[in-house]
């Protein structure tokens, strides 16, 4: 290293010019760096959980979803509705927007005075309808209340899907355009945004702002501290210049190689400043210690004596940051690489530029500094005298405090990283409060999307989720919900029919409406959107596990449909089993109880009783219903009251005698004559199954209401309709139909990535420890010295984790890096002490004396570095990113604890080793 020093002295101008040119170039590159943060890009695309999410989200326009919440003074006024319509249509026209769904363009199913409409509220707005009536209907619509209108009727929600093919940067640009459009056109009192694109936009703005303020603040803090500590220009200026250069290079390098930064990576330049200044301090400190007047000799001696130690310190720090490569989370790997590169730049700068600049100075260590060396020596004496006290105190306190490690949680959510006061988090709170959720858990059904059993299972799962996870799942939106609502409006039946053609008939009417967020174009997949409040990842995990368990217990994997009036005995048994399973699952989903005996008996009754028996029992009423149905189409207009009366009695007679097509024909011929019979018979025959089944449904419904406590009228009706159907799904191993259910969503991805963190942390720490041990062993040529060096490093890491546990600081994209940084800092201090110990031991040949002198010299550098770095990290408290503030706490605690352990505990441990140990470790015999 000494030779390098001589070369530097000779070529100092060349070095300064080269560094200046490169720094100017890198500063330009750094100014171009882009910040992009997207959780779905955190893990490799082939990761099973993320790729499943991407597949589902892309298919259903949910990958880049913007939620816009707007509070209007009077949401249902014509001007508000018109404004929502204008915004909906306007956003749709923005380039990059794939689809928009809102209160005004969602399918609106309405039944009024014997007719039905599937339209959009925007038509109502354009045609100037009655808003009071509309308000009432919307607030009673399960498809709109909670979904597009907040339950309190004051806010509305617009869902905007962006083109999935866009890059994150492009989606951020489109998001800006959307936000600008809403800002300039909305008449709403308050506007909120949520979803990945707005979060990315905010994260980008925040990161940029933090990068612009944190770097100068950290530099200023470090400079001030160094000035106070060194009290000479050289002592503070050179380390500062070195970190300005290295931090500029590290950010510039990111852009130069075509990479981007994330929110977590904002800490990189701050770390480079805080850690990199140490090398400058050591070099300057040693240069000032040199008494020679010739700058070449001073530079030669400086690099000869501590050059290796600085290289070793930087190498261990680089190695520990590179250990983050084991983490399969992209921003963390990037963090590891770019911080390591930054440290390498700091090393390069301090080995070449700092001595080159220092060589112009003729200053020597002041007498005051020498006095402080004396103070260091005295302190060293005290430490060695009370070594057991220091060692015991350290071990006991860290040992006790480490209980908190068990409380560490991992949490990768952006909301946690940004903190409660952030706009993104406030927006999420708004959606959680107003719309019972700010994110979505998506239940994906891969199979025929209009299959009745699939739809029925979809509904069952939503009932379970809504009922069992009340604080977590706020709303559900699915094709099943729409089909059920249509059936209710068209036919007065609030359930999903088993008959495939019935579902097809309903689906036919929905065609042409935008349902791209619920069903894919081939109808081979559909999703259930569960709107969730993702404030607790534990609850989301619990939700996922419970849903999976519920699905595996109650949803058939393969199945067929049978008509129970025409099926085999075996099929009838399976139908019974199927309906029992359905009823049990429904009751469980609703948290209701019924005895297995009752369930068995009601299912038995439903399967074995025919609708015709009920028709016989209710002949007169059924006849009245049919007459009223005919009247509703004006079929009885112009027919005499007498003929109508005859028609009614003819129908009644046919029912009382046991209905058959012939009996009805005869009865009608007898009562109204052949011609009239021909007109009415087809309509009446068509209506009889509906009317007859209605009585059966009513009977089953009453049975259910009497025997199941807490069952609502609507639930009883829905269940009775299912139980009374002729078509029943049966579980069959070789059944004709099947579908697969998968659960995904951004909260699930967050959970997955968070879970990956813990394991990743263990792996990276193990690797760091091994690398550190090897490097220390190489430095000291002693296995034992390697272990001794690991003690303060390990204890610092333990203490840091304890702080995280004690103060509920979660492991996330930023805090996971603290362990690597701790290892880097801890080892740096150890290496400095070891390196000086070697020099002093060689000089004096006395262990005690060497330790005391090492503390007085390197201890001073370590102390200065610790204070200066802490000052740099303290600037993170000024950040408005909560995660960075937490990182600041941890980084400062690392600096302090690593310092305490290196200065107060390590010397005591070292003093326990005999002379022969050092003689062997430092190869003194050989050298002598």
């Amino acid at each position: 290293m000494g030779k390098i020093g001589s070369w530097i002295s000779k070529h100092r101008w060349l070095i300064i010019v080269l560094f200046t040119i490169v720094t100017v170039f890198m500063a330009y590159e750094a100014s171009q760096v882009r910040i992009i943060d997207d959780i779905t890009k955190y893990v490799p695309e082939n990761d099973a959980v993320v790729s499943f999410f991407n597949k589902v989200a892309n298919e259903f326009d949910m990958n880049d979803l913007i939620l816009i919440g707007m509070d209007y003074k009077d949401l249902f006024s014509k001007s508000s509705l018109n404004n929502i319509n204008v915004i909906t249509n306007g956003i749709k026209e923005i380039r990059g927007v794939k689809s928009v769904i809102s209160l005004t363009n969602a399918p609106w199913i309405e039944a009024k005075s014997g007719s039905v409409e599937i339209s959009k509220i925007q038509n109502f707005v354009l045609n100037g309808g009655n808003t009071e009536r509309l308000k009432k209907e919307i607030m009673n619509s399960p498809l709109f209340k909670g979904q597009f209108v907040s339950p309190n009727g004051k806010s509305t929600l617009i869902m905007v899907s962006l083109n999935a093919s866009m890059s994150v940067q492009q989606s951020i640009k489109v998001t800006k355009n959307v936000e600008n459009y809403v800002k300039t056109h909305s008449l709403a009192q308050k506007i909120y945004y949520s979803g990945i694109p707005p979060s990315n936009l905010t994260a980008q703005k925040l990161a940029k702002k933090n990068l612009e303020t944190l770097i100068p603040l950290s530099l200023l803090a470090v400079a001030l501290i160094l000035f106070v500590l060194f009290r000479n220009t050289l002592g503070f200026l050179l380390p500062i210049i070195s970190v300005i250069v290295s931090s500029t290079w590290s950010v510039g390098f990111i852009h130069l190689i075509g990479c981007t930064m994330t929110l977590a990576n904002v800490a990189i330049p701050v770390i480079v400043i805080a850690l990199g200044n140490a090398y400058g301090i050591y070099i300057v400190n040693k240069y000032l210690e040199e008494k020679d007047k010739d700058h070449t000799v001073r530079v030669f001696n400086t690099l000869r004596d501590i050059g290796i130690a600085v290289v070793l310190s930087a190498s261990t720090a680089i190695a520990s940051f590179l250990s983050l490569l084991t983490v399969n989370i992209n921003p963390i790997r990037d963090f590891g690489i770019f911080t390591a590169v930054g440290i390498a730049f700091a090393l390069l700068t301090n080995i070449f530029l700092t001595p080159a600049l220092a060589s112009f100075s003729e200053k020597h260590l002041s007498s005051k500094a020498e006095k402080s060396n004396r103070f260091g020596k005295n302190l060293g004496e005290i430490i060695l005298k009370h070594k057991w006290a220091f060692i015991s105190l350290t071990l006991i306190s860290i040992g006790l405090f480490s209980i908190f490690i068990l409380r560490i949680q991992s949490d990768m959510r952006l909301s946690v990283l940004l903190g409660k006061q952030n706009e993104v988090v406030k927006s999420m709170d708004y959606f959680n409060r107003r719309f019972n959720g700010s994110d979505f858990v998506i239940v994906n059904f891969n199979g025929n999307a209009t299959d009745p059993y699939l739809l029925r299972s979809e509904r069952l799962i939503s009932i379970y989720a809504l009922n069992h996870f009340k604080g977590v799942v706020g709303e559900s939106y699915s094709l099943a919900k729409i089909i059920r609502e249509m059936n209710k409006k068209f036919n007065g039946q609030n359930y999903i029919p088993s008959n495939r053609n019935k579902v097809q008939n309903l689906w036919f009417l929905m065609q042409g409406n935008n349902l791209s967020q619920l069903v894919n174009s081939q109808r081979s997949e559909t999703v259930e959107q569960l709107r969730v409040n993702p404030s607790s990842l534990k609850e989301i995990e619990k939700l996922k596990k419970s849903l999976s368990k519920f699905i595996s217990k109650y949803v058939f994997k393969r199945y067929s449909y049978v008509n129970i009036s025409k099926c085999t005995h075996k099929e009838k048994e399976l139908a019974q089993e199927s309906l029992t399973t359905y009823l049990t699952a429904y009751l469980q989903a609703k948290s209701l109880m019924a005895s297995p005996t009752f369930i068995k008996s009601v299912v038995n009754e439903a399967i074995n009783s025919t609708a015709d028996e009920f028709l016989k029992r209710h002949a007169k009423d059924a006849s009245n219903r049919i007459i009223n149905y005919l009247k509703s189409f004006g079929m009885l207009e112009g027919i005499s009251a007498n003929t109508i009366s005859n028609l009614k009695s003819g129908i009644t007679e046919s029912f009382e005698n046991g209905y058959s097509q012939n009996s009805l024909k005869n009865a009608l011929e007898k009562s109204v004559g052949l011609n009239t019979e021909e007109i009415f018979a087809p309509i009446i025959e068509n209506q009889i199954p509906n009317v007859a089944n209605g009585y059966k449904v009513n009977y089953i419904k009453n049975l259910l209401l009497h025997n199941i406590k807490g069952l609502t009228n609507e639930d009883a009706n829905s269940l009775a309709l299912v139980l009374s159907e002729k078509t029943v799904v049966i579980p069959q191993k070789n059944g004709k139909y099947s579908f697969k259910v998968g659960i995904t969503g951004i909260p699930i991805v967050y959970n997955h990535v968070s879970n990956m963190l813990i394991n990743a942390q263990y792996e990276s720490m193990m690797i760091s420890a091994i690398i550190v041990f090897i490097l220390l062993m190489i430095q000291t040529s002693s296995v034992l010295m390697g272990f001794i060096g690991l003690i303060p490093v390990t204890l610092t890491v333990l203490f840091n984790f304890s702080i995280m546990g004690a103060f509920d600081i979660p492991l996330n994209a930023i805090t996971i890096t603290i362990a690597s940084m701790t290892v880097g800092v801890g080892v740096d201090y150890v290496v400095q002490i070891f390196s000086r110990l070697r020099v002093e031991f060689k000089k004096s040949g006395d262990v005690h004396d060497a330790i005391v002198k090492s503390l007085a010299t390197s201890g001073r550098g370590v102390l200065f570095n610790s204070i200066a770095s802490s000052g740099g990290f303290a600037m993170l408290f000024s950040s408005n990113i909560h995660g960075l503030r937490q990182f600041g706490i941890l980084a400062i605690s690392t600096m302090i604890v690593a310092l305490i352990l290196a200065v107060l505990t390590l010397p005591g441990v070292l003093s326990l080793m005999p002379y022969s140990f050092y003689e062997k470790a430092f190869k003194l015999k050989k050298e002598r």
Partner: protein, 251 residues
């Protein structure tokens, strides 16, 4: 020479007559030309091709009863695919339209803005269907172009619940048949209907192919005429709610 002047005289008279016609009168003539029958049965194939999706194919049959140039009854039934076979639509006038769902054996009266819904997911709305059986829409008719071969009319609908701000219809003079209709929404082109494959069937000229293309390129619906018959002996009472319930049609 006399013959030449006589011919010129006739041509000038015809030209002045045609120039004197209003847009509404031209439309009446178009409907009149396409209404010289009592009943019509049309078998059609409908293909809907949406961007990035597999095409959807339907077969349907349309029955039309001409009650006079101002009033027509229509009955539309889907023949395939199997899942919606029997689904039927009956129009007995603007305020009397019904939809029959065979799986439910139920008839629903449809009203209001439902008529602006897409018919079977096609680019036609229930309202647009009237174009298939030549019904005159209430509106303001204005002649935009009147040249040797065609009229171009601008139609501004005045009826309630019509979503279009205007229609621009090109009518070829020779057969008085519309060749193109442009539908505008809020002043912007929304979709275009083009007729092609002019054919003479049972002494009547008609187009065998109708293509409706969305202006944004999202989808295209093609109706292909398979077969048509005129003046079948279909009674007026066939066009009733009762027929909707009939699984098999007599005609």
């Amino acid at each position: 020479m006399k013959k030449v002047f006589s011919l010129l005289g006739i041509l000038m008279f015809l030209a002045s007559v045609s120039l004197a016609m209003t847009g509404s009168q031209i439309m009446n003539e178009v409907i009149k030309a396409d209404s010289n029958f009592k009943t019509q049965k049309i078998e059609m194939h409908m293909c809907i091709q949406s961007k990035g999706m597999a095409s959807k194919n339907y077969d349907l049959v349309i029955y039309v009863y001409n009650k006079g140039s101002s009033k027509k009854y229509a009955f539309i039934r889907f023949i395939s695919p199997e899942s919606i076979k029997g689904l039927s639509f009956l129009s007995l006038g603007k305020n009397e339209e019904y939809l029959y769902m065979p799986a439910y054996h139920r008839v629903q009266r449809i009203a209001g803005s439902f008529k602006n819904s897409k018919f079977a997911g096609s680019d036609f709305t229930y309202n647009d269907l009237s174009l298939l059986y030549s019904k005159k829409e209430a509106g303001k008719y204005k002649i935009l172009i009147n040249n040797a071969s065609e009229y171009i009319l601008e139609i501004v609908p005045t009826a309630k619940n019509v979503q279009y701000s205007k229609l621009v219809m090109t009518i070829e003079k020779k057969h008085l048949l519309p060749t193109k209709v442009e539908f505008y929404k809020n002043g912007l082109l929304y979709k275009t209907m083009k007729d092609s494959m002019l054919t003479k069937i049972q002494g009547r000229w008609l187009f065998k192919k109708i293509t409706l293309t969305m202006a944004n390129g999202s989808s295209e619906t093609t109706l292909t005429l398979i077969k048509t018959e005129f003046n079948l002996n279909i009674p007026l009472n066939f066009f009733s709610v009762r027929t909707l319930f009939m699984p098999v049609l007599a005609y």
